[in-house]
Amino acid sequence: MWLISRCDLVFRRRRFVVAVLVTALVFGMALVFDGVKRSVRNEVPRTVEMFGADRWVVPDGVTGPFTTTAVFPADVAEGIADDPGVRRASPVVLSRSVARVDPDKDANLIGYVPGSIPPPPIEDGREVRGRGETVVDQSLGLSVGDDLDVGSRTFEVVGVGDQLRYNFGAPTVLLTLRDAQALTFDRGELAMAVAVDGTPSSLPDGFTALTNDDVISDLDRITKPGVQTIDLVSILLWIVAIGIIGSVVYLNALERTRDFAVLKATGAPNRAIVGGLAIQSLFLSIIAAVLAVGVAWLVSLVLPFPAELSSASYAQMFAVAIAVGLVTSLIGARRALTTDPALAFGAA
């Protein structure tokens, strides 16, 4: 039956080419959306884990260090560091500002004491060592040695990383704790959380310790509606893909009703006829998926948002493409199986 399916693909090639191109566009969009979703999902744990903390100490009532505006004296960290279960306690400032690049971009500010947390993931340059220095995400378009204006201050870029993002892909600017305090607060040595390496046995009054999972869950709450929207759009895109390929396969099956009747009348087994349709649908779907890889790559070049197209994304898309191929072949198969072979007799 592959002979018939292959020749039919060639015979009706214009229709199939249009269907494959449109489906490739749909698959490509779905792939990009999946990449965006993965990026949003991954940036949260990546950011939290960057600090190498086991616990996050924040004022009571605060749901997480990245979403709070509550502040406290930075020297609270010193008391926590004295706890025997704590190896390191680093006061941090986690706020937001505007990076004055062209065009201006909202950025996450992270202020920390250099050397108090593991080195951030830097692709080029080094980590911050002193005041006036910054490490930035590459999406700001800056290079080592460039100046970056944040608020009323100018910083020298000493390092660039490619995964320094959170809050739905917003770039992060890493500064010394002092610089971050100066930018965020009018005065005072304040902090917004203490990243603790170890497990404190007791905490100062009015403070609570959150686990990494608590912090991740808190940050995920912000991105959840966005991720759900992406999931919904992805499902709609898969349905559109099923609709496109399904309508072409069904139209094809309608036109080939007499062929099916003849094949059945001449003893071709149902499994061969259905197998031929399944091969045809799968072929269309998989070719569209292959083209979608290129479409997704092109779209991701102009997308103002990071899309993490991993091998898992591609594997998922091909799995969905196969499912789409099989589901759509059922549409044609039903038509083929219900065709009465007696239809082959009589005038056309």
């Binding site: 039956m1 002979l3 018939i4 020749c7 039919d8 060639v10 015979f11 009706r12 007499r258 062929d259 009747a261 003849v262 094949l263 009348a265 001449t266 003893g267 071709a268 087994p269 061969a272 072979p341 007696a342 082959a344 007799f345 009589g346 005038a347 056309a348």
Partner: protein
């Protein structure tokens, strides 16, 4: 040796809710090597009989035996094997797969029977050479004339060298030049080890046939004495699906014309009183009776006339209606 025996075959199906019985208690025998022609008007059951021979249509009752195989008992895999290996079908509308070349149309049949690709191609080329299409193997059906397409269809039917070939109106879509080649081919197919059954309206095939089966009995052209019948209340004069060559005039009582439905119900179409007439369409057009006629609530007397006698012996008004195929009465 291939011998086809059809015994007491009846095929009934539903059409628009009404029971249609194009084949009614048919007995036929086709001997090995014969070219058999099935002649008859449209609706006389030619294609229905071919469908039953090809085991595409299951008869209501009766037997079709080809060699030692009882066709009506085949099911599942045996049925598929029968369709593949025992019967080759030539369709009226050629029914070639438009996306395949002439050669691949034949190859597809062989491949679906499990023949290896290389052997299938060699066999297809051999058959297409036989039907004089050696130079058209790579043409698609759309690039072939009707006669050429029908020859490809014949090659396809012969792909697995079946002992029975059935051809449904094989010359219906061909002009007189194309018909010649197809006729010679059909004649050549009928040889020891094979029976060829062809349904046709085309009387040019008659001289080629070893056996002609007329599924529509020829109407009585001349005259014969009128047949008067007295029917008891409810007694049937003729059944829906019967052949008939008489037009009936009601002499006394009344006749109910009823149509039998598939679900067993009956639909009263008309009640004919004296001096009405009924039953003219079957003899006029060689059709089977399209309804049942029986006496009404009381006994009735009718007289049956041949068409010619009916026209001669009845008044001008009545026969004018008949000549116009008028709808004064339903005319089974």
């Amino acid at each position: 040796m291939t011998r086809v025996e059809i015994r007491d075959l009846t095929i009934e199906y539903s059409s628009g809710g009404y029971a249609v019985r194009p084949i009614d208690h048919l007995d036929l025998t086709f001997d090995d090597g014969q070219l058999v022609l099935l002649l008859g008007a449209s609706g006389s059951g030619k294609t229905t009989l071919l469908s039953a021979l090809a085991s595409i249509l299951r008869p209501t009752s009766g037997s079709i035996r080809i060699g030692t195989t009882e066709v009506t008992e085949l099911r599942g895999q045996e049925l598929a094997e029968y369709r593949r290996h025992t019967v080759g079908i030539v369709f009226q509308a050629f029914n070639l797969i438009p996306s395949l070349t002439a050669r691949d149309n034949v190859v597809a049949s062989l491949r679906s029977a499990g023949v290896k690709t290389r052997a299938a191609r060699a066999r297809a080329e051999e058959l297409l050479e036989q039907v004089d299409l050696g130079d058209r193997m790579r043409h698609r059906p759309g690039d072939l004339s009707g006669g050429q397409q029908q020859r490809v269809a014949i090659a396809r039917a012969l792909a697995l060298d079946p002992p029975l070939v059935v051809a449904d109106e094989p010359t219906a879509h061909l002009d007189y030049i194309q018909v010649d080649g197809v006729l010679r081919l059909l004649r050549d197919l009928a040889q020891p080890g094979r029976v060829v059954v062809v349904s046709t309206h085309d009387e040019r095939l008659l001289p080629l046939a070893d056996q002609v089966v007329e599924l529509t009995p020829r109407a009585v052209a001349g005259s014969r004495p009128p047949e008067q019948r007295t029917l008891a209340a409810g007694e049937v004069l003729f059944h829906q699906g019967d052949h008939g060559d008489l037009v009936y005039v009601v002499d006394e009582g009344c006749i109910d014309i009823v149509r039998e439905c598939t679900d067993g119900r009956e639909e009263l179409l008309a009640r004919i009183d004296q001096p009405g007439y009924f039953g003219e369409l079957a003899p006029m057009f060689g059709l089977r009776r399209s309804a049942t006629a029986r006496a009404g609530a009381t006994s009735a007397t009718v007289t049956g006339y041949t068409l010619r006698d009916f026209r001669e012996h009845h008044d001008a008004d009545t026969t004018a209606l008949l000549d116009d195929a008028g709808d004064a009465n339903p005319a089974p």
